[in-house]
Amino acid sequence: MRIDRRLIKNFDWISFSLVTLLSVMGIMTIYSATRSPLPGGEMPSYYIKQLYWLLLSVAAMIAIVSFDYIWLKRFSYVLYGVGIFLLLLVLFHGRTGMGAQRWLNIGIFSFQPSEVFKLFYVITISRYLSETQGKVGLISLLKTFFLLAFVPVVMVIKQPDLGTAVILLLVLLSLISTKGFQKKAIALIILISLVSVPFIGNIMWEGLKDYQKNRLVAFLEPEVDPAGIGYHINQSKVAIGSGNFIGKGYLKGTQGPFRFLPEKHTDFIFAVFAEEWGFAGSAVLLLLYLSLILRGLDTARKAKDEFGSLLATGISFMFTIYFFINIGMTLGIMPVVGVPLPFMSYGGTSLLANFVAAGILISVRTRRFELFY
């Protein structure tokens, strides 16, 4: 395969710079969050591992960009099948961590299949919708849901990973609404929602594990149980709030390294960042993510075909949803559902998957002038 010159000329340096910058900030924050509180104490190697994953992820992203994303369309159902298989594997052979079975051990490292699956899922839905004509009607809405979303959502709930399940549904909804609804379909969605909320609420509540119930209760009333689950939220708020306007300074934060804040380098990394960089730094971070997402939506508008457009939309929405749930959780305005912050949270699979996703975005934008041949 030959590398088109235009590929380099039209390369989306902005998106590339944004995600790389965010990841470097993430590694810096991981370093600060996990540093030993004792002078001269042992330094855990999380940040090194994350750095290796970043290098691997950048390589993967470049590889993705160099292939035309049309290949993704062709192999989407295969990818989807692989994803479902991985989810099945994790259900039967998964490693349990923090009360949920989410990891698969492969040799020396373990990874989270749901992180990989969400990508295949966006690709497959994009293909499926790009091949339907006109607005989404009743029948095709139900077909899409039961064909593509129902099985993985149930499997992810089984892990249990409520956060990812919700995200899968939201991604589906956002993609379909991008395509456009028929009036009947909107009416049905509203009707189903109204009728099913009490039912589903009840069934879901019964089906929830104790720690999930606690998280919901803690979200609604964090002061009830300050040393338990509400403790996460409170300590996160303390970390963020104590940053004030300019922050305590890099490597000057105390909530993370002194272990007051749990999950400091994974789900709650934003709290560590906000403590050290304050409102000023946090606002900049918010703007970086907003730029990435808006650029993704712009890519969707400019994409050369509907598949590319849906792909860019789905990925942008996915970033948005992850970002909003994660930051909202650390700020105490969303329940604690255990969702990582894209590009910053510690975790190799997540980083790799997000870079691949960003690679697809870049690929769609870079190839917007190409014609079919």
């Binding site: 509180p37 040393a227 939506l297 909003f324 909202g328």
Partner: protein
């Protein structure tokens, strides 16, 4: 496009929330994060030591251990194991933890206090099993002489609600011991010292990471009491099971040498964190061990008051040394009969013998000539009916009645019969044991009143008053008081000492109006026994009053206690002076002490001496 706006709106929500947490509530959260990270560990200041006048330590500082738990380490604590280690009930522990948890996230939960050093060692050995378990050390006291001098020395205890709000205790932590009684309370500020503190940085498990600042504790001032522990101890022991009080003073300075209130209590109970049951027991004890009888109880002085009557009558010219009276066992006044304690009568006697034998009739006559108002004014001048100024407890003032008082309080005129009663220290007259000791001190030192001092004084103080009584009058009275103890027929014969020349006066204060032989009365109806004394006769070094509640006759019940106490003080003086100087004059029995002998022929007064 719509999606774009939606996303920008979402980001705005996040930014607003950030603004709220970091800017609007920023300082609050900054404080919370500091509270997370910083622990202020108080270092208790060693409390000043309390010594007696001969520099014998009366108290010792002891550590008071408290085990507490950092609530943030709760999740990692095995509660049943912890309950077993601390020897407390598991349910009680769980309840305590839950209760405290509701109140504060950061404040350590105090699990148990007052542990012994042995228990602490045991816990220390298992410390690694319990992250977040902290052992705090506070300073408490060991009262080395137990209940001896408890009313004077006092005790430490936890501050009550009123005290914790008092600005005097602002820098005292709410759980620290403070002086609650006696010297410990009166001089708490000096004894307390200034606690130091260590500001350390800790992690979520409460492990110390770094010492940020340290201020060392400043030891409290030592206190040297005027009290002589040998005298105090001997005095308390000589009371045995009897209730009562003894106050001994140095006549030439007002220093308080002994301060006894019996029964006493063990101040160590308080200093080790008194249990409710023990507190109840002390409070409900019928003998009221917590009552400071030297200041908080008042009694009729009985015949010890004749000292005052004699002085007043001589000063006012109502009598002189030659004035005689004839006692036939009582006098008639109207339709009343005022009896002498000795029903067979004393015959004709002068003032000297009237004091020695404590003849009531003589003092009825003297009182009649003198009048109540003049008697009262001398009594007041000698310090009776007046507060001590010690501020140790809420004390009783006693009562010296006169016509004005009777008119104001009782709306009745004064009757002569009441003068008779007052002249022999009965009727309305009431005094505290402290007042009687001070009165005796003033008689002994030639008419000076010193400010009473609980602390040893460095130099001889200036008297605060000179009573308007002629030296000659005092000399006559002192000679008679010597006779009371040392002459034939003296009512205070049982205080006679071969070691030192003791002067004194017995008193038997009626509790009930009837004059009956004591064997017919129940214990609570029995008379109070008094003995007031000073010694040595020539150059008084100690003046005291002894009061035995329901002790019966003063000569029998109170005088021996006074004698033992005085002798103990003299011996203690020898011990103390022995090291530095040759014996001081006070240790040599006076010549007059040698003159009067023959303890054998002290006839029938043995049983009924007044």
């Amino acid at each position: 496009m719509l999606a774009g706006y939606l996303i920008v709106a979402l980001f705005f929500i996040l930014a607003i929330r950030l603004w709220q947490l970091q800017i609007l509530q920023g300082s609050e959260y900054r404080k919370l994060s500091e509270e997370n990270r910083l622990r202020i560990i108080r270092i208790a200041a060693p409390r000043g030591i309390i010594y007696d006048r001969n520099s014998i330590a009366l108290v010792k500082n002891t550590p008071y251990y408290t085990v507490s738990l950092n609530p943030q380490a709760l999740g990692r604590v095995d509660i049943p194991y912890l309950a077993e280690l601390l020897k407390i009930d598991r349910d009680y522990l769980t309840e305590k933890i839950n209760e405290q948890q509701k109140r504060s996230l950061y404040e350590p939960i105090r699990l148990r206090e007052g542990l012994s050093a042995k228990e602490i060692a045991l816990i220390e050995a298992r410390r690694s099993d319990f992250p977040g378990l902290a052992i705090e050390v506070d300073v408490s006291r060991d009262y080395l002489f137990g209940s001896v001098g408890a009313h004077l020395i006092g005790y430490l205890g936890k501050p009550n609600e009123f005290q914790s709000r008092n600005p005097d205790f602002r820098d005292v932590p709410s759980d620290a011991f403070i002086g609650q009684w006696g010297i410990e309370r009166l001089f708490d500020r000096q004894l307390r010292g200034t606690p130091g503190e260590r500001i350390i940085e800790v992690d979520a498990l409460g492990r110390e990471l770094r010492l940020l600042r340290e201020k060392s504790a400043v030891r409290g001032e030592d206190m040297r009491l005027a009290m002589d522990i040998h005298l105090q101890k001997e005095a308390e022991e000589s009371f045995g099971e009897k209730t009562g009080a003894l106050v001994a003073m140095k006549p030439d300075s007002g220093e308080i040498l002994a301060f006894v209130s019996k029964p006493s209590f063990d101040p160590n109970l308080f200093a080790r964190g008194i249990k409710y049951r023990q507190w109840e027991e002390l409070n409900q004890n019928r003998k009221l061990p917590l009552l400071n009888r030297a200041l908080q109880s008042q009694y009729p002085p009985g015949s010890t008051f004749k000292i005052v009557t004699a002085i007043a009558a001589m000063e006012e010219g109502a009598i002189d040394t030659d004035t005689k009276a004839t006692c036939n066992g009582g006098i008639a006044y109207g339709r009343w009969h005022f009896g002498c304690w000795r029903k067979t009568g004393h015959g004709t006697l002068s003032l000297h013998r009237a004091l020695v034998e404590s003849c009531d009739v003589y003092f009825y006559e003297a009182g009649k000539k003198l009048g109540i108002d003049k008697l009262a004014s001398y009594a007041k001048e000698l310090g009776l009916g007046r507060e001590s100024g010690l501020e140790m407890v809420r004390e009783r003032r006693g009562l010296i009645p006169d016509t004005k008082w009777k008119q104001e309080k009782r709306k009745q005129p004064w009757y002569l019969g009441e003068t008779f009663n007052a002249a022999i220290g009965q009727g309305y007259v009431a005094v505290t044991p402290f007042q009687m000791a001070q009165m005796m001190s003033t008689v002994a030192n030639g008419g000076y009143i010193y400010r009473p001092s609980l602390l040893m004084l460095g130099s001889k103080p200036e008297p605060i008053e000179k009573v308007n009584i002629k030296q000659e009058t005092l000399d006559i009275v002192k000679k008679a008081l010597f006779g009371v103890v040392n002459e034939n027929g003296g009512t205070g014969w049982s205080a006679k000492s071969s070691m030192v020349s003791i002067c004194g006066k017995t008193g038997t204060a009626q509790v009930v109006g009837l004059r009956k032989e004591s064997k017919y009365l129940t214990e609570m109806q029995r008379d109070h026994a008094w003995f007031v004394a000073f010694a040595p006769y020539e150059a008084p070094e100690v003046a005291l009053s002894v009061m035995v509640e329901h002790g019966g006759h003063g000569g029998a019940a109170a005088a021996p206690i006074a004698k033992r106490a005085i002798e103990a003080y003299m011996k203690s003086g020898i011990q103390a002076a022995g090291a530095s100087q040759s014996m001081s004059p006070r240790t040599v029995p006076g010549s007059i002490g040698q003159n009067v002998q023959s303890a054998e022929d002290r006839n029938e007064n043995r049983q009924t001496s007044h």
